[in-house]
Amino acid sequence: MGLDVNWALRWLALSADAMAEHREELIELDRPIGDSDHGENMDRGFKAVMVKLAEAPPETAGAALKLTAMTLMSKVGGAAGPLYGTAFLRAGTALGDAADVDAATLASAFQAARDGIVARGKAESGDKTMVDAWTPAVDAAAAAAGDSDVRKVLLAAAEAAEAGAVSTDPMLARKGRASYLGERSIGHRDPGAVSSALILRAAVGAAE
């Protein structure tokens, strides 16, 4: 069984729930090494996504992700808005018109999302950004895609993203607002990496 438009809609709805639920946590993470707005930005953005999806329900998973991309780009602002916007745009494009997404397409969509983030933000692994959640997620998804079970791909990606978010703790930030802090950025978790892991975890829940 593949993943259809309803999975995509559930994914986005669960992502919106996660952003609302973790709003304060993401604000708190953004406080010591940022500007205390990541949770507010993501929550505002995904609430707007829910409105847009309700206004014009998309017919494919790809279309749902593209609409999400446009909405995040126009509603989130900050660094996260364009980065997530590009990620969802590239992922949506990778899914194409497929009614059902198979494991290989899913893995390549994650890869496209990650590449989009890197293309816009120019961060490398270890720079203490959301890339540090996405890159291990993409690698794990690719490895899991072999036995063509989409649920395993989703799970592998989510778990790797979560580990990736934790791995940002000891990193010295070299991109984004946290980089202004130099050494003082060490010992804090990157908020964008955490929101990325939450979104990838929501994708698992949507497929249950």
């Binding site: 500007d35 707005d37 602002g77 660094a79 933000g121 991109k175």
Partner: protein, 333 residues
């Protein structure tokens, strides 16, 4: 958190609405998407100037919309860069055909959102140049970081590039003078207290009674390091020295000295800082030809200040002196 606000999420909406009511002779405010344009925009034949960024830095940027400065300002949520769907219509609204310069403070979010908007505007046939402001010497400049932030220098870039556009300079010339200001300006800031983002509800960091943050930006983010409280002269020296040395100022140079309040500092204190900075520059044979003291680029109610120095040449001085008529800066008219 104690603020003169209603709904924390409506702060920018209501504040910009009030701004529009108070300055209806100078600006037109659009609510959704939100942007502020000069009343008489687009001015025929004139290069348009658009800037923007997160809110909470007032009077930046809306306060600088008007004759001789910006044609449009695009306010984001508090401390959050605006989005392309705001920047694009602002850009289109002020384009007279002579092209538009985006003045962008160097933050990842601002850069990415303006980048997208510029692409979209270009796709609609508008010629765009971008002037990136990155004057904060508190940030180590390196290829491997996000680079220096845009802070106090932004006000000076907007005034001087605005005057160049007003006198009829073409697109490349306006962008070039903006870049020249940026290359000749440096800033550094200090916080005595943190500020509280309305939607966050708690201060962005906590300073003890005897601590200050040196090298802060304008988003309530922590600075480079925290030191024990010092007197005004000591703090002034700490801010001024890296600015002067990074600029490579030498005896005989002429400068504009800008002491900026972060929003919660009394003017009397800013003049105490100005006094020391002016004395120190004079002691090094540097002539303060122009000055600016007050709250011009702020961080909500933060207490603290920043010092900005611009190395002047005759053209920049003349453009600084040129008439300007905006809600927050006005002279010669």
């Amino acid at each position: 958190m104690k603020k003169l606000i209603n709904d924390p999420r409506a702060v920018v909406d209501e504040s910009v609405e009030g701004f529009g009511l108070a300055h209806a002779d100078l600006v037109t405010v659009f609510a959704d998407p939100k942007y502020i344009v000069r009343k008489d925009a687009p001015v025929a034949g004139k290069v348009g100037l658009v800037s923007g960024g997160g809110s909470g830095h007032e009077p930046l940027h809306g306060g600088y919309v008007g004759m001789g400065m910006l044609d449009a300002a695009v306010p984001g949520a508090v401390f959050t860069s605006p989005t392309p769907d705001q920047i694009l219509p602002a850009t289109l609204a002020v384009n007279s055909g002579a092209g538009v310069v985006h003045i962008v403070k160097n933050y990842t979010g601002d850069v990415l959102n303006f980048e997208t908007a510029a692409e979209l505007a270009q796709a609609e046939g508008v010629d765009i140049r971008t002037v990136l402001v990155n004057d904060d010497v508190a940030v180590q400049d390196s290829l491997y970081t996000a680079g220096r932030r845009g802070v106090g220098g932004t006000v000076l870039v907007e005034k001087i590039a605005g005057a160049a556009a007003e006198r009829g300079d073409n697109l490349d010339a306006v962008a070039a003078i903006g870049d020249r200001v940026n290359q000749n300006v440096r800033s550094m800031g200090v916080a005595l207290t943190a500020c509280t983002v309305p939607h966050a509800g708690a201060p962005s960091f906590v300073l003890e009674e005897n601590e200050i943050e040196i090298g802060i930006g304008i988003h309530g983010e922590p600075g480079r390091h925290r030191i024990a409280m010092e007197n005004a002269d000591g703090i002034t020296d700490r801010l001024l020295e890296p600015v002067v040395s990074d600029l490579g100022l030498a005896s005989g140079d002429k400068v504009l000295l800008f002491v900026n309040g972060m929003g919660g500092t009394p003017q009397s204190e800013l003049y105490i800082v100005y006094r020391r900075a002016a004395q120190q520059l004079a002691g090094q044979g540097i002539t303060v030809e122009r000055s600016l003291v007050g709250n011009y680029i702020t961080s909500l109610e933060m207490q603290g200040c920043s010092i900005t120095v611009l190395r002047l040449d005759d053209e920049m001085t003349a453009l600084w002196d040129a008439p300007v008529h905006t809600p927050a800066l006005r002279w010669g008219v």
